[in-house]
């Protein structure tokens, strides 16, 4: 309770100082979140590239209308956070045609945009973009859960299919543990190792499960091997307070310190002070994997979205408790399917996040859903045979991507028809016999959808050396997120 109160006071102080600083030089903290492999790094790189180098953004009015004079990178405000390596990420995409490596630690970048307001005044807008591993996001719900609740929830989840297959060895080990026995460091270490292995298996491409807290187990950073990361859920007896010195008490204490050392600072420093939020979701990977992954994604999305402070911006909230007044849900990698299916993809994402969306709308925030591709890597084509037509996308699959009878080498260009998405998103969430089949439960031969990951596009250099990146609806996302700040 006291913790909570101190937190609130800290946040309020920070908000008040921010308010004072930003009164004359407006700053937007744009939160870019998303589970891992959703494409956060690519999104941020493309966004900054587009702003700084002047991308092709017809829907982003301030840029298309010529009101943005220039945008440049500026030193970031937080000295303790590493800089977002924008230049190298772009170089990797343009020169080597590789996607940037996935985020391992938090990083940020500040862009200053000089523009002319509609009434003709010269203004400056500072945009802070923060990138961090998507796994960390899943820790936010832990802030409201005790060790006991978390342990029982995690266990219950791990006993459902298809997780139960992956958790077999961990479950075997768990059965040997007695929570009431005296705590032993070696036991804790082994338990944590089995637990981490189970989490890692869930994340595999074929399963693509999303809900895997605590996030630092998969992405430990500088906290690897610390006691705060050496705990695991136990099969707990109900209604007994943990005896002092027991394994249970030890795990519980470590869980608490995990929350104190990892989750709360992350929430306070980076999450609680956001103005605008975009949540990137790799819906297609979940559809690839199957209905279980989709259900998991639905659950994870709603968990994550409840962590946001949303609502209409008021003077009071601006002073004491910053709120997010616009949330954009983006189904990324929209270039993996033909544009005629984009609306369906949006509907699916809208359906997945339904609960969170209606909650945010009631609170007064604006929510939009968009199918987006920050860097478009395919072009479109139609495969015809006689009167049959399949709307395809043409691209170069990443090395190792496979369809039946073919594992791609990363050079061959192929046309892909990924399967028809349903008009009604509920058809994807049907259970049992009617459910579609994904890689988690069936072979490549029988899957209903196959979205292949493709390499970045081959780009031609322009006269100033850096090409503009092709995209799908990145400008629409920008217009929704920050367009109204350029008045």
């Amino acid at each position: 309770m006291v913790d909570e109160l101190i937190e609130q006071i800290r946040l309020a102080t920070k908000a008040i100082t921010d308010f004072g600083i930003h009164l004359f030089d407006p700053t937007i903290r744009l939160g870019v979140t998303g589970l891992s492999h959703a494409g956060k790094t690519v999104f941020i790189s493309a966004l900054i590239h587009g702003l700084v180098r002047g991308g092709r953004f017809p829907i982003f009015e301030p840029l298309a209308g010529g009101r943005i004079a220039r945008a440049y990178l500026a030193p970031q405000p937080d000295d303790a956070v590493s800089r977002f390596d924008y230049e190298n990420h772009i170089a990797a995409m343009v020169n080597k045609r590789d996607w940037p490596s996935s985020t391992r630690q938090i990083s940020e970048l500040r862009v200053v945009i000089e523009f002319q307001s509609l009434s003709g005044h010269q203004r400056k807008l500072t945009l802070d973009v923060v990138d961090y591993p998507g796994e960390w996001l899943l820790d936010l719900p832990l802030l409201t859960k005790t060790y006991e609740t978390w342990a029982s929830e995690t266990l219950r989840l791990s006993r459902e299919r298809p997780r139960s297959d992956l958790a077999k060895s961990w479950h075997l080990h768990l059965a040997k543990l007695d929570p009431l026995a005296p705590g032993d460091e070696q036991q804790a270490l082994t338990a944590a190792r089995f637990f981490t292995e189970y989490l890692r298996a869930c994340r595999d491409q074929n399963y693509a499960l999303s809900l895997l807290p605590p996030g630092r187990f998969l992405m430990p950073g500088d906290l690897a091997n610390t006691p705060a990361l050496t705990f695991a859920p136990l099969d707990l007896p109900t209604e007994v307070p943990p005896p002092a010195g027991s394994l249970w008490a030890m795990m519980r204490r470590r869980y608490e310190s995990y929350r104190a050392v990892v989750v709360r600072p992350f929430f306070r420093d980076h999450f609680a002070r956001l103005d605008r939020q975009i949540v990137l979701v790799d819906t297609l990977a979940a559809i690839n994997a199957g209905p279980e992954a989709l259900g998991d994604l639905e659950y994870a999305l709603n968990e994550v979205l409840t962590a946001f402070e949303v609502g209409r911006k008021t003077l009071f909230s601006a002073l004491l408790r910053p709120r997010i007044d616009r949330i954009l849900l983006a189904a990324t990698k929209a270039d993996h399917l033909h544009h005629t299916s984009h609306d369906r993809l949006e509907n699916i994402l809208r359906r997945l996040a339904q609960r969170a969306i209606s909650k945010a709308e009631v609170a007064g925030a604006q929510v939009d859903v968009v199918a987006l591709s920050a860097v478009r890597a395919t072009r479109e084509a139609t495969a015809r045979r006689g009167r049959q037509q399949l709307p395809c996308v043409v691209g170069v699959p990443l090395p190792g991507e496979a369809v039946v009878g073919e594992i791609f080498d990363g050079v061959t260009e192929v046309a892909i028809f990924p399967g028809d998405l349903p008009d009604d998103p509920n058809d994807l969430l049907l259970g049992d016999i009617n459910a579609f089949r994904g890689l988690a439960t069936t072979s490549l031969q029988n899957v209903d959808f196959r979205f292949l990951r493709v390499r970045p596009p081959a780009l031609e250099l322009t006269e100033n050396g850096v090409p503009a990146l092709p995209h799908i609806r990145l400008d629409r996302a920008l217009q929704f997120l920050i367009g109204d700040k350029f008045v």
Partner: protein
Amino acid sequence: MNKAYVSKTYMNTWQHRAPAAFRLDRDGAMVRLNTETGGASGQALQLQAEPDFDAEIVMLRDLPRSSRRRVRWGALFLSALGGLVLLAAGMAVSSLIADLFQYNRGLGWLGLALAGLAALSLMAVAIRETMGLLRLATVEKLRDRAATMIVSDDRVEARALVHQFLHLTRRMPHLARSRANLQSHLAEIIDGADLVRLAERELMTSLDQQARTIIATAATRVSVVTALSPRAVIDVLYVLASALALLRQLAFLYGVRPGTVGLVRLARLVVVHLGITGGLASSDSLIQQLLGHGIAAKLSARLGEGVLNGLVTARFGLAALDVIRPMPFAALSRPTLRDIMNELLRSLGDRADDQQCSPQSDADHDESPLIAVP
């Protein structure tokens, strides 16, 4: 749909085609990579590139219109009467030509030629007027459709609509660059509502700016003339004439080009529109106008009258803008009376300054040869 394309268990929920992948052969033929062996149906696979999905322009469907099946007696009467008058005129002309032939053969031919010329030019005028009316109707329809499109967000129809806007503005040379921009954006994946807004921003921005200037200029002229004119009749006539001129100018600006009949119809529409909105945009408060007028009137009764007349003209111009502009105001903001009035008052002030200061300041401005003070 071929059976091979439909997956087996899944089809009870919806028509679903199983995923497929194809590779381009060296000679351009397609090879199906997964599922059953390709070429089962004996036909070659082709891959057709879609550089842009702009190729097929879908014609717009007509929206259902509420049709009132009512006999319009008044119109019928007028048409019948018009027909009679035409017949009478025809009779008169033919008998005149017959008379002319009796009088003198040469005069007869001359009369015939003149009659033919008159008929021809009448036809040309009729065609022009009809075209003008049609254009007016098109613009109305386009605006309705654009408003619908912004709600429905239909990608295919919005694309067709933007093509029509490009067609409408094809004769405006200073929009060439905007049109080229828009054309190039059509090849990208942009949603319906966004596309309509984009088209509005590209095509209407400079036109709106010009329209604002035109309205402000007309309002200023009316203010000055009525402030100086000796008789009220002249005021009224001048206000009416300049309103018509303003309407015509605006219509030409937005590519409507109505004929005379079209202009009359347009004027009627504008007056109706003024009646509906009360001539008052929501952003303009009555109090502010009263105040503004009051202060001007305090300074000078004539000036106050002039400003009031200017205000009326500006209102008329804004209402005309709503009727003539082929797109609804979605991405751009509607010019308000306040914008126009500010411009009007400023230019009035400038004129007053000019009149007062020109003798004194002439020494400083000797590079201006236009003001030659003896």
